[in-house]
Each structure stands twice: as structure tokens, then as C-alpha cells.
């Protein structure tokens, strides 16, 4: 099988779909790998490393994709790129399928079998291919570092000759994969950590990381371990609980999300204003609209002394490890899907089926959900 | 006569207390070997059995005595041997400090 790795062109994207270690493994499995020139440079994988692993380097998209059986990418391809893919090839990348109607049409038209990585089922078996988890891990970690670095104060308690610095209070909203990692990171740095989520199972998980759980009388457990949207009553309860708690916080990491929906609004402007100057809100949900009313995606604002950061593509700011994990996820997907030297796009497969958004010239997304 | 008995009672009492104090805290793994080892000790009846068997008070006594010796001796020899076998697993590791 000929596998192509494209260079990312989207703004802020520093990751690469396959790391040299994975390439190495694929070559050992008798695949061919072609990597676009400089594809890994921003993730600190120079071309040399790919060459050492046995990949060949090609300068242009066309040169890379020519004759490729499988194309690996991080971000969705542009329509142009999509149109250039060889018919019958398999494309593996993020796809933002709910917002990419024309891209899907283009792929379908080109006869490409496209697997959207964000649609990987959240089952135990598929965990090793779960790009959402791996990238959220990095995002949760980096969100805390970012917030800590921007705060007016230190995180840990320090008793010094120049007075005692009290520990920072960190509050994590939404304790999914990113939120839990944020809890762990903030605890490592010495903050007093509390967290909130609407799924009741999360409480024990939060406590298992040594943080306290903020209670609200609201529960919203949806399907597949995900949350669902809150009813208006419950939303009121949640907002009241957060408002009461957030006043006193120095660092807020907001990660609440509902798959396929805009992020729930959980921090109002009033709440932001109730906080002390110098505190920081890192809204990891900025990409899907933000948990905080004051968030502007991609920007860092000061609202009455409170720094509100709406980072985009946080995982990409730790490009090396993010790519390493991304690449390992794809590697597991290939281990699962490749038989007899070719990728089997079996629509009945419980993992591949749901991920496949275009196949056999048709758009499947929307039909299979 | 009663005093001789009482002397024995004193010894019995002291030995009883000693038995209680000797066994303080035993890891579960040692329960069976310890039980077995103690059982071997209780084979001390062999001393009584020998006297009965060797007393030469007629064949009934001798038969009974013979049986008693056999029983007690199985208890003693079997008990010690079996305990020793069980205890083979408590050889120290070489690396221990």
C-alpha cells in the first residue's frame, strides 16, 4: 500500500499526521510511504528523520498523492486538494463533517473513501484510535500551562521571607478527557482544584485526582458517555452554582462540550466581572463557541483585569507530542483496518463504519448517524 | 497425694500460660505448618504409650499398648516430617538484607 502524508496548510496547524516512528513501522510492514517536503518540520520532525525511516520525500501535493492508496492528514483537505486525490484512495483526517458539506461532496465525487477521525466511536476497543482523547489530553495540559503563565500570581503556596503566597484556586468546568488532564496538571503545579460537570459519574473521577467536586442539582448524561444539553431549569441551577463558586477563582479552565452542538454557555459576563483582576479564564471550548460569554476565539482579552483566553487548536501548540499521539492513533486504525496489504473499507465494521463519511462515490455522513 | 497432684496442676497452669504467650501473631501462611508442628508435639503421648506397652501387664495391655505406640509414633514421625516439608517454602531469598 502506498501511503501519503501531506503537509498541513491551515493556519496555526503545526502537527503532522504520521510521525517517523509510525512510518518506520509501516515500512517494516512492507508499505510505501511518501511524505511531503517539510510536512513534519513544525512538529520538530525534520525530513531527514522520515528519510531515515525509509520514506521518500516529494515536494508537491500532486507528487505525494499520485498513486497513493491512503492519504493521511491532520486537518480536512481543501476542496482543491480533495479534488486532486486519486479515485478509490482512502483519506484519513479530521473532517469537521457537520460543517464541510461541499468538501464531502467533492470527496464523494472524486470516489474517495474518507474516514473522519472525529467520528471514532468512544468504545473501549477503539480507544487506541481515539484522536479526540489523545488531542484533548494535550489540550487540557497546555490550557493549564497557558493560564498559569498568564496569571498575575503563582500557582503553588509558598511561604517565604517576603510573605506567604497563597495557593491559586483553579476551577475546571467540564471534566471530560481535557478537563481531567487539566485537573491533574493544575494539581501538579500546586493549585487547589475544584471541578464541575453535569455527568454524575464524573464526581468520583474528579475526586480520584485529588480535586473537589462542585455540586449542582443538575444531571445530563447523554448517550455513549457524552453529556447532553441541559433543560432551562437545570441550566439555571448550573449557572447559579458556577456563579457562586467562580468569584473566588484565580484560574478557570472551561472544557465543557456536547458533541455536534455549540459549547454550552456556562460563564456569563457578570461572572467574569465578579472575579478578581489578575485571574485568568482559558476557554478550551472557544472553537465551538466557547463556554464563556466574553471569549473571542483565537484572542486574549482583558475584561476588567480578568484575562479571557480563547485558544484555537491548543493541541497543535505542543506539536511534537501531539503528532506522536495522532500518528499512533492512525497507526492503530491501520492495524485494525489493513488486511492483506490493503485497507478494507468495511462499512459493517463497528469502528470503520461510523467513521466513513464518503464511500463508493456517495456521501454517507448524515445517513449513518 | 493431693499435693503431688497440685504440683502437677501448678506446672500445667504455667505451661498453659506459656503456650498462650508463645503464639503471638502468626501470618496466615504459617497457620497450617504451626498447627502441624504443634500436633507433632502433642504426640508426646508416645511416652505414655511406651509405658503402657512395656509394662507387661498381660496381653490386653500389651496389645493396647502396641496400638498406642503405633498411633502415637505415626503422629510424631508423620507430624514432624510433614511440617518440615511444608516449611521448605520459607527459605530466605538471596538478595534480602
Amino acid at each position: 500500500m502506498r501511503i501519503a502524508v501531506l503537509r498541513e496548510t491551515a493556519a496555526r496547524e503545526r502537527r503532522v499526521a504520521l510521525a517517523p516512528a509510525t512510518v518506520d513501522r509501516l515500512i517494516k510492514q512492507k508499505h510505501q510511504v511518501v511524505v511531503q517536503e517539510g510536512a513534519g518540520v513544525q512538529a520538530f520532525f525534520p525530513d531527514k528523520l522520515y528519510q531515515d525511516s525509509g520514506a521518500s520525500i516529494a515536494p508537491t501535493v500532486a507528487a505525494v498523492t499520485a498513486g497513493a492508496d491512503l492519504i493521511a492528514k491532520v486537518q480536512p483537505p481543501t476542496i482543491d486538494e480533495a479534488a486532486a486525490l486519486p479515485p478509490g484512495a482512502v483519506l484519513v483526517s479530521l473532517m469537521a463533517p457537520h460543517a464541510s458539506g461541499s468538501l464531502l461532496d467533492a470527496l464523494a465525487k472524486g470516489g474517495v473513501t474518507a474516514l473522519a477521525l472525529e467520528l471514532v466511536p468512544r468504545t473501549t476497543k477503539a480507544q487506541s484510535m481515539d484522536i479526540l482523547s489523545s488531542q484533548a489530553t494535550i489540550a487540557g495540559y497546555q490550557a493549564v500551562l497557558l493560564g498559569a503563565h498568564r496569571m498575575g500570581r503563582l500557582m503553588p503556596m509558598l511561604t517565604t521571607a517576603a510573605g506567604t503566597l497563597t495557593p491559586a484556586k483553579a476551577f475546571i468546568i467540564g471534566a471530560g478527557v481535557a478537563g481531567l488532564q487539566a485537573i491533574a496538571t493544575a494539581r501538579r503545579l500546586g493549585a487547589v482544584v475544584s471541578a464541575f460537570d453535569v455527568r454524575p459519574v464524573v464526581k468520583e473521577q474528579v475526586q480520584s485526582l485529588g480535586a473537589s467536586f462542585v455540586e449542582a442539582e443538575a444531571k445530563a448524561e447523554g448517550a455513549g458517555g457524552y453529556a447532553k444539553e441541559l433543560s432551562t431549569d437545570q441550566q439555571q441551577l448550573v449557572l447559579a452554582a458556577i456563579a457562586k463558586h467562580i468569584k473566588d477563582m484565580d484560574l478557570v479552565i472551561a472544557t465543557a462540550a456536547i458533541p455536534g452542538k455549540p459549547a454550552p454557555r456556562l460563564i456569563t459576563n457578570e461572572m467574569v466581572e465578579s472575579m478578581r483582576p489578575g485571574s485568568v479564564i482559558v476557554d478550551v471550548a472557544a472553537e465551538t463557541g466557547g463556554n464563556c460569554e466574553a471569549t473571542v476565539a483565537g484572542e486574549e482579552r482583558s475584561v476588567g483585569g480578568v484575562t479571557v483566553i480563547g485558544p484555537l487548536n491548543l493541541a497543535s501548540t505542543i506539536p511534537n507530542h501531539a503528532s506522536f499521539m495522532f500518528s499512533r492513533n492512525i497507526q492503530s486504525l491501520l492495524d485494525h483496518g489493513v488486511k492483506d496489504g490493503a485497507f478494507q473499507a468495511n462499512m459493517d465494521d463497528p469502528i470503520i463504519g461510523p467513521m466513513c463519511v464518503t464511500h463508493g462515490g456517495a456521501v454517507r455522513y448524515g445517513r449513518t448517524q | 497425694m493431693i499435693e503431688a497432684l497440685l504440683g502437677s496442676v501448678v506446672i500445667f497452669t504455667l505451661a498453659t500460660f506459656l503456650g498462650v504467650e508463645l503464639i503471638n501473631r502468626v501470618p496466615t501462611t504459617l497457620h497450617t505448618p504451626l498447627m502441624s508442628g504443634a500436633n507433632a508435639i502433642s504426640g508426646i503421648t508416645i511416652a505414655g504409650a511406651l509405658i503402657v506397652a512395656g509394662g507387661g501387664h498381660g496381653w490386653i495391655s500389651t496389645v493396647i499398648g502396641f496400638l498406642a505406640v503405633v498411633f502415637a509414633m505415626i503422629n510424631v514421625v508423620g507430624g514432624y516430617a510433614v511440617t518440615d516439608r511444608m516449611l521448605q517454602m520459607f527459605k530466605r531469598k538471596p538478595g534480602a538484607k
Binding site: L180, Q181 | T45, A47, A53, I64, M73, V82
Partner: protein, 461 residues
């Protein structure tokens, strides 16, 4: 041999018994203890042979040879797993010997028309009663363990009343016999018969799993029987050794009960409607339970230990104790590694966060690929609050939701100890056959409490 020398030799034998028992109760000295006590026994036997007015040696030598041969053969041929029933059998024979000695002395007094003093009469009766109960009870215990008869508790209405009546009968008959010296032989036979029956009745209502406690108790009885024999033949070594075994046996029974979290009374009588100590599942599989001190001994003597932490360790927040335990094992010469499954816990790297908090050095952490081959060469795998990540169903059961997920090969270790609160399922909500593996012992309880106990025991070893 002068009488004084005999007494002194007996005293030396007694001291050896004392030291033997003391040393037997600690793993480090147990082997020596058993041998020392054996030396004491040898002295006692030799002295007895030299001392007493022993007339016919042929019978005695025959008895000694036969007994030794049979005993040795039994000890050699028994399987390690059949040890408890073996001890039961040996113990029964010891009780039988006491019965025979008591009976023999009685018959001898009848034959030579000797008038027994009161104390000798009483102790003869006692040694017979206790000896008979011991042999009968021990044989039942043996039968239950050997599965010659059912291991279940056998109860019937009025059982306790019957036992009480039988006991009363023995007492009355004995008293009659003692008070009427020129009595007939039938009360003698009756006492022996009823005592045997009593021994049977006392043990049948106790479940097979509780037999070790019963054997220990019967062992204590046989000690007392020996002591009574000592009163009969006025021999201090019998009294001392018998009393030692009598009291230490009871203490040991209590310790055993405590290890099972039950009282002695509950073991002996509670069984009128009792449960066994092992946990049964729907399919009738049995998970073997263990206690903290036992786990500690296993860990202390293991050359290699792999710890498999899971979500339960995080819930219990017992990370610091794990570290402490590992340090102790290493001080005792064992090697401890941690096997981190990629999805252990509830978030990526959950176990790393936890173990970093306890300052476990990074070079002791191994991920699945690095360590999976090592389980086979590992003495003990200690699974702490992990479940799905060691579930063999992932390898073997295509119907399972985790089928195909690579797991840690905990089941390949020579023995496995699992720390959990109960038989609760993990994240995937499925049963785990590892817990029913014959090599696996479950240490139930909150992981923090269990580890605390293990650590305390490790320090005491």
C-alpha cells in the same frame, strides 16, 4: 538412668518444645523451630525407654518401627494441597493414642486389681473422653476435607440438645465409675463409645471451609488429652508439652478465625446455617479470599513483584502506600515493577499522575509492551483496583465488549493478588474470570485500608 537424670532430661525436652513452638510462629525461624521441637521429642522417647520399668521391648520396638514407617510414608506421599487433611489424620491418631493409654491404664488397674487414687481416676477418664472426641472429630474433619463425605454442614433438629445429653451421660458414667471402684467394664465401654459419638456430632455441623479451625481446636484437645495422660502416669514432660499444645492450639484457632473475620463461636456453632469463606458467583465459580498478613508474607518472600494499578487505586487515593509497600519489599530483597496499562484509570496518564504524586521513580514504570513478557517470570502480580485492563476476556471472549483490547498478562504470573472492595465490575461492566483463577487470591476492602494492613504486616515480618 537415675530418676533425677530422667526428670532433668524431661525438663530439657520441655524447654526444646517451648523454643520450638516459639520459633515455629515466625517465617524466619520456623524450620529451626520444628527441628528443635523434634529433638525434644527424641530425647523424651529415649529417656522414657531407658527409664521405665519396661519389661518387653519387642512389642515396643515393633510399634516404633511400624509407626515410624507408616508416618514417614504418609508424610512423603501426601500432596501439598492435601496438607490440612493429613494433619487432621495425624492429630486423630494422637488423640487415639491418648484414648488407648488412658484405657490401657484403666484396664491394667482392673487386671491387677490396683486401687486407683482419685486424681488418677479422674485424669484417666478425662484422657479417654478427650482422646475419643479428638480421634472421632479428626476423622470426620479428614473425611470432609478429603471429600470422602460431603463438605457441607450437616445439621438436624435437636442436635445441640442431643450433644448436651450425650455429654451429660459421659459425665455421669465417669463419675459412677470413679466412685464405684470395683465397677464393671460396661460403663468404661459406654464412656468410650459415647465420647466417640460426641466427637462425630461436634464436627459434622461445621462446613468444610472451616475445617482448618476445627483441626486446630482438636489439636488443642489432643494436647490436653496428652497432659491428662501425664497426670495419670505422673510425668511432667507430658503435662508441659500437652498444656503448651493445649493453650497454643486455642490461640491459633482464634488467630485463624480472626483472619477469616469471624469468632470461634461462630465457626463452631454458627454453622447451623453457615456460609463458607469464599465468594461464589452466579455460575458457581469461586473466588479465593486471602488476608493481609498472608499477602504480606507472599510479597516478602517474592523475588519479583509486578504491581498493576487501576482506577480503584486512584479512587482509594492509596498511591503513597503503594510506594511504601514497594520500598519494604525491596528492602527484603524483592524487585518491584509497575505495569501501566494504556487505558488504566479514567484519563490518559491517570496512573502516571497518581504514581508521580507518590514519587515512584520513572524507571520502575513500564508500559504494556515493555512488561507483558515478564509476567511469566514473576512471582506475584499485585493488582490494585484494576479490572478491565487485566481481564482475560479481552483475549478469549469474542462476545465481550473489550474483545481485542490488549491487556496486561497478569494471569501469567505465578500467583496473583487482587485488591478490590468486592466483586464489583469495572468500567466495561463485565465479569472478570481472572478473579476465579485458582492462582488468584482476592484481598477485599478499600485499597487504602488493605494496603495499610499489608504494609504493617510487611514491617513486622
Amino acid at each position: 538412668m537415675s530418676h533425677a537424670a530422667v526428670i532433668l532430661s524431661y525438663l530439657i525436652a520441655s524447654v526444646l518444645f517451648i523454643l520450638g513452638l516459639k520459633w515455629l510462629s515466625s517465617p524466619a525461624t520456623a524450620v529451626r523451630g520444628n527441628r528443635v521441637s523434634g529433638a525434644g521429642m527424641l530425647i523424651a522417647i529415649v529417656v522414657t525407654l531407658l527409664d521405665q520399668a519396661i519389661l518387653s521391648f519387642e512389642v515396643i520396638v515393633a510399634g516404633l518401627v511400624v509407626g515410624s514407617a507408616v508416618g514417614l510414608w504418609m508424610a512423603r506421599s501426601v500432596k501439598m494441597t492435601a496438607m490440612p487433611q493429613m494433619v487432621a489424620l495425624l492429630n486423630g491418631l494422637g488423640g487415639g493414642a491418648s484414648l488407648l493409654v488412658g484405657g490401657g491404664e484403666f484396664l491394667k488397674s482392673e487386671l491387677v486389681n490396683e486401687n486407683l487414687t482419685l486424681d488418677v481416676s479422674i485424669t484417666i477418664q478425662l484422657s479417654m473422653l478427650i482422646g475419643a472426641v479428638t480421634i472421632a472429630g479428626s476423622l470426620i474433619a479428614w473425611a470432609k476435607l478429603q471429600e470422602v463425605m460431603t463438605g457441607r454442614a450437616i445439621t438436624f433438629p435437636g442436635q445441640k440438645v442431643l450433644n448436651a445429653l450425650l455429654f451429660l451421660a459421659v459425665v455421669v458414667l465417669s463419675a459412677y465409675q470413679i466412685s464405684v471402684p470395683e465397677s464393671l467394664l460396661w460403663p468404661f465401654y459406654a464412656v468410650v463409645g459415647i465420647s466417640l459419638l460426641l466427637g462425630i456430632l461436634l464436627v459434622i455441623p461445621i462446613g468444610g471451609a472451616d475445617m482448618p479451625v476445627v483441626i486446630s481446636l482438636l489439636n488443642s484437645y489432643s494436647g490436653i488429652a496428652a497432659a491428662m495422660t501425664g497426670f495419670v502416669i505422673k510425668n511432667d514432660v507430658l503435662i508441659i508439652a500437652g498444656a503448651l499444645v493445649g493453650s497454643s492450639g486455642i490461640i491459633l484457632s482464634q488467630i485463624m478465625c480472626k483472619a477469616m473475620n469471624r469468632s470461634l463461636a461462630n465457626v463452631l456453632f454458627g454453622a447451623f446455617g453457615a456460609t463458607s469463606a469464599s465468594t461464589k458467583t452466579a455460575e458457581g465459580l469461586t473466588a479465593r479470599q486471602t488476608a493481609a498478613d498472608d499477602a504480606a508474607v507472599q510479597l516478602a518472600y517474592a523475588k519479583s513483584v509486578i504491581v498493576v494499578p487501576g482506577y480503584g487505586l486512584a479512587v482509594a487515593q492509596a498511591q503513597h502506600l503503594v510506594r511504601e509497600m514497594a520500598d519494604l519489599i525491596e528492602k527484603k530483597g524483592g524487585e518491584v515493577k509497575y505495569a501501566i496499562h494504556p487505558v488504566a484509570g479514567r484519563m490518559p496518564g491517570h496512573m502516571n499522575v497518581l504514581l508521580a504524586e507518590a514519587n515512584v521513580p520513572y524507571d520502575k514504570l513500564f508500559d504494556m509492551d515493555q512488561i507483558n513478557a515478564e509476567f511469566e517470570r514473576t512471582d506475584v502480580c499485585l493488582v490494585i483496583g484494576a479490572n478491565d485492563v487485566v481481564n482475560p476476556a479481552a483475549r478469549t471472549d469474542p462476545g465481550s465488549p473489550i474483545y481485542g483490547m490488549p491487556i496486561l498478562n497478569a494471569d501469567k504470573a505465578a500467583s496473583i493478588i487482587v485488591l478490590k472492595r468486592g466483586m464489583g465490575a469495572g468500567f466495561a461492566g463485565i465479569e472478570n474470570e481472572l478473579f476465579f483463577n485458582p492462582k488468584t487470591a482476592m484481598l477485599f476492602g478499600d485499597a487504602k485500608g488493605s494496603l495499610q494492613k499489608v504494609v504493617t504486616e510487611l514491617k513486622a515480618l
